[in-house]
């Protein structure tokens, strides 16, 4: 399923070839840099950013210790990962106006997710004790205002629309009046989608910007966007003004490399991430996770968070601890499989982990398979479950007999466990890249 390889497997081809040689040549570094560039371009990172970053990374990677380490490939991945985290910067809070009345304006291309995000933001603010109001200024897309109104009702906040009004500016002004009259403390302006090459629509937005002077002008950008993202962000920045951006549709498998490009080329922070179609699918931005995602290294933390949303926190906490401590056992695997099974589609979960799909291609988890796996693990002794390394041929035969299956079936389960361990080692290493995140538990809140 996964089309693109992750950086780690790309690099391993080169570092495998290096093994056995005593010297790392300049060519090795060059080859690695090429792979890094390819990985970033495949992730839709802007070409210029790729160029700059690869120069920076190459300097760092030349540091001797990198290549003398046992796993140079992983060391390089770590350097790249850290470089990306650095570029992505820190999480930044939404601005609150000292006047007590904050105006947030969302803009972006058609279909990026502005209207949905406006409602999500309203809910987010409402949940934090604010009194937001939504106003639609979309006079172009059919039923766009009705869409916002329905969403506003869903999240339980006030909204202002007037489908008969033809002027976006008038709608914005009337919206502000209404919001002040209703004693709201935040006005969220939803705007029509526009291409930055469309002068007429850019003028419309400019007029709203001048009249309402928003505290936050946020670009809503689709995680799937290609190379043009930077040009678009820069055009909005120079013609309207840009305070930050929100990336949407991160629940898919797009790498989201444009986040890196926009951040780097405009210097503006990522404020939030949209992770679904529902109004509560809005999350705080975590640079380390996004960096992993861009590199196709998966987002194991999100995976665990998702698991913990559906199941109990203790279990997730335990899994996370074990992942970190490298003490993940067969028993844990069984629990994991059962959890994931209970959550619906394994594929869907794994799809959040770009590059993983292919790796796990043969680890297809169907109902029968799960039953077999469970039977096999249950036929193991406690000791075997905790330490699968002791599973020699005679033990495997015994287990197969015990559950009425073939030795091959047992072998398959052991192999699966090994695969998972390998995967986790990779993540384990990456987890340490994002120090700040460590120890912080899933769902500890979205906090400003």
């Amino acid at each position: 399923m996964a089309l693109f390889e992750n950086l780690s497997s790309r690099l391993s081809r080169i570092t495998d070839a290096m093994r056995g040689r005593s010297r790392v040549t300049e060519k090795d570094i060059k080859d690695m840099m090429r792979e890094i560039r390819l990985a970033l371009l495949e992730a839709d990172v802007h070409y210029q950013v790729v160029k700059d970053l690869s120069a920076e990374i190459s300097d760092k990677a030349r540091g001797a210790e990198v290549l003398q380490s046992l796993t140079p490939g992983q060391q390089v991945v770590k350097i790249v990962h850290e470089a990306l985290i650095h570029v992505l910067g820190e999480e930044e809070k939404l601005t609150v106006s000292p006047t007590g009345f904050t105006v947030i304006m969302l803009y972006g291309l058609q279909g990026a997710g502005k209207t949905t995000t406006a409602a999500k933001l309203a809910l987010y603010l409402k949940d934090r004790g604010k009194k937001p109001m939504l106003v639609s200024t979309d006079v172009h897309r059919p039923a766009a205002q009705e869409q916002l109104q329905i969403l506003a009702e869903q999240v339980g906040v006030d909204s202002y629309i007037n489908p008969d009004e033809k002027s976006a500016l008038t709608l914005a002004k009337e919206g502000e009046e209404r919001a002040r009259y209703m004693m709201c403390d935040t006005l969220i302006i939803d705007t029509a989608g526009r291409m930055t090459v469309d002068d007429q629509l850019m003028e419309e937005l400019k007029a709203i910007n001048q009249a309402l002077n928003p505290d936050e002008r946020l670009l809503v950008v689709d995680a799937m966007i290609g190379q043009e993202a930077v040009g678009i962000a820069q055009a909005f920045e120079s013609r309207i003004g840009l305070d930050g951006f929100i990336m949407t549709k991160l629940d898919g498998d797009a790498r989201g490399g444009s986040a890196l490009s926009i951040r780097r080329m405009t210097g503006k922070p990522i404020k939030m991430m949209g992770t679904g179609e529902k109004v509560n699918d809005l999350e705080a931005f975590h640079p380390d996770r996004l960096a992993s995602r861009i590199l196709g290294m998966g987002d194991v933390l999100t995976l665990i968070e998702k698991a913990s949303e559906a199941f109990d926190q203790d279990q997730a906490e335990k899994t996370l601890e074990r992942l970190k401590a490298n003490t993940f056992t067969m028993q844990d695997m069984l629990e994991q499989l059962e959890q994931i099974q209970g959550m619906g589609s394994m594929k869907e979960m794994l799809s959040m982990v770009p590059g993983l799909g292919r790796k796990l291609g043969d680890v297809d988890i169907d109902e029968k398979d799960l039953l077999r796996t469970r039977a096999i693990i249950q036929s193991m002794t406690r000791q075997e479950r905790d330490n699968p390394r002791i599973l020699n041929a005679s033990r495997r035969r015994r287990i197969a007999r015990g559950c009425g299956l073939e030795v091959q079936d047992v072998n398959r389960v052991v192999r699966r466990y090994d695969d998972m361990m390998k995967m986790m080692k990779q993540f384990g290493m990456l987890g340490q890249g994002g120090k700040r995140r460590r120890g912080r538990m899933p769902l500890s809140g979205l906090g400003f």
Binding site: M1, Q110, G226, S351
Partner: protein, 303 residues
């Protein structure tokens, strides 16, 4: 405005970008050297043509130069055009006169499925066909209202249930009505769905089964609507949708704006699926049949 002019206008930005790049490169000697070819590769990548297609095109040009010795601006551009054309397939959508034709619009969120359905309705009406639309996006807020608004604008009947209803049931009803009213073209607008969501892809497969069962005699086109501003994920999308419900044609929307449109080349090359439609604006008439040669004429600099 002629067909070509509309197309060309939409892609002005792309062509300007390419022209500037290529002119800058070929300015000196008027011939391409190795570095210039690298740069040309980057221009293709920046137009979202993707790594594979871009690298392949440049390799082909290198080979061409080796064989013919022709590294002139004209020679390279001619060959580039040929190579890119070879990566794309195109197909013109038909409407049958003696049986029902169904276009099923699918794609990820926000690509332009509803708008493209409305544009197709407008076009078929202008051609004198009897048209109907089915509101099988029962999920997104005001999706039904949006399609109904388009129905009024294009004077097309819209079959709809309430929000939250089973989309397959909407499709079932729509097919029955289409038959009763002797409709020529039934356009089915579906909800946007990320290709990674198994349950939503299953829902689409169910819709497809209803169509196969209830309209086995119909000409069915499954049109994947892709946003031209999308990057490399478009390839993954196309593969996943094709695998789930067998896509028969691609519509590339929003070619009027910022997008360079190279993704059309990348997706067609990677999947072999034919390009059918080009979306060139937000209004009902902003639609063209996708033409490979027009696309490339509009994309590449004038010789």
């Amino acid at each position: 405005m002629s067909l070509f002019e509309t197309f060309r206008k939409g892609l002005t930005k792309t062509r300007d970008f390419m022209t500037a790049g290529i002119n800058r490169m070929a300015a000196g000697l008027g011939i391409f050297d190795d570095d210039m070819l690298d740069e040309l590769e980057m221009i293709l990548i920046q137009a979202d043509c993707g790594m594979t297609a871009s690298t392949e095109a440049i390799e082909a040009i290198r080979e061409h130069i080796r064989q013919t010795g022709d590294a002139s601006r004209q020679g390279v551009l001619d060959f580039l055009r040929l190579t890119l054309a070879g990566m794309m397939t195109e197909k013109q959508l038909k409407i049958e006169s003696d049986r029902l034709t169904i276009y099923l619009m699918v794609g990820v969120n926000g690509t332009g499925k509803t708008t493209t359905a409305a544009k197709l309705a407008q076009r078929a009406k202008n051609q004198g066909f009897r048209v109907m639309m089915a509101a099988a996006d029962t999920f997104r807020a005001a999706a039904i209202e949006q399609l109904k608004a388009w129905g009024e604008r294009t004077q097309t009947a819209v079959i709809a249930h309430a929000t939250g209803a089973d989309p397959a049931a909407v499709v079932f009803d729509a097919i029955q009505s289409a038959r009763a009213r002797q409709t020529d073209l039934l356009l089915i607008d579906t909800a946007g769905r990320l290709h990674t969501k198994r349950n939503l892809m299953d829902e689409l497969a169910k819709i497809r089964r209803v169509i196969d069962r209830e309209a086995s005699d119909a000409l069915v086109e499954t049109i994947l609507v892709l946003d031209a501003t999308t990057g490399q994920n478009a390839i993954v999308q196309a593969r996943a949708f094709h695998e789930a419900i067998e896509v028969t044609g691609l519509a590339i929307t929003k070619l009027d704006g910022n997008a360079k449109g190279g993704v059309a080349i990348a997706v067609s090359r990677e999947t072999g699926l034919p390009l059918c439609l080009a979306g060139l604006g937000e209004d009902a008439q902003d639609l063209q049949d996708f033409s490979r040669s027009m696309f490339l004429d509009a994309l590449l600099p004038d010789l």
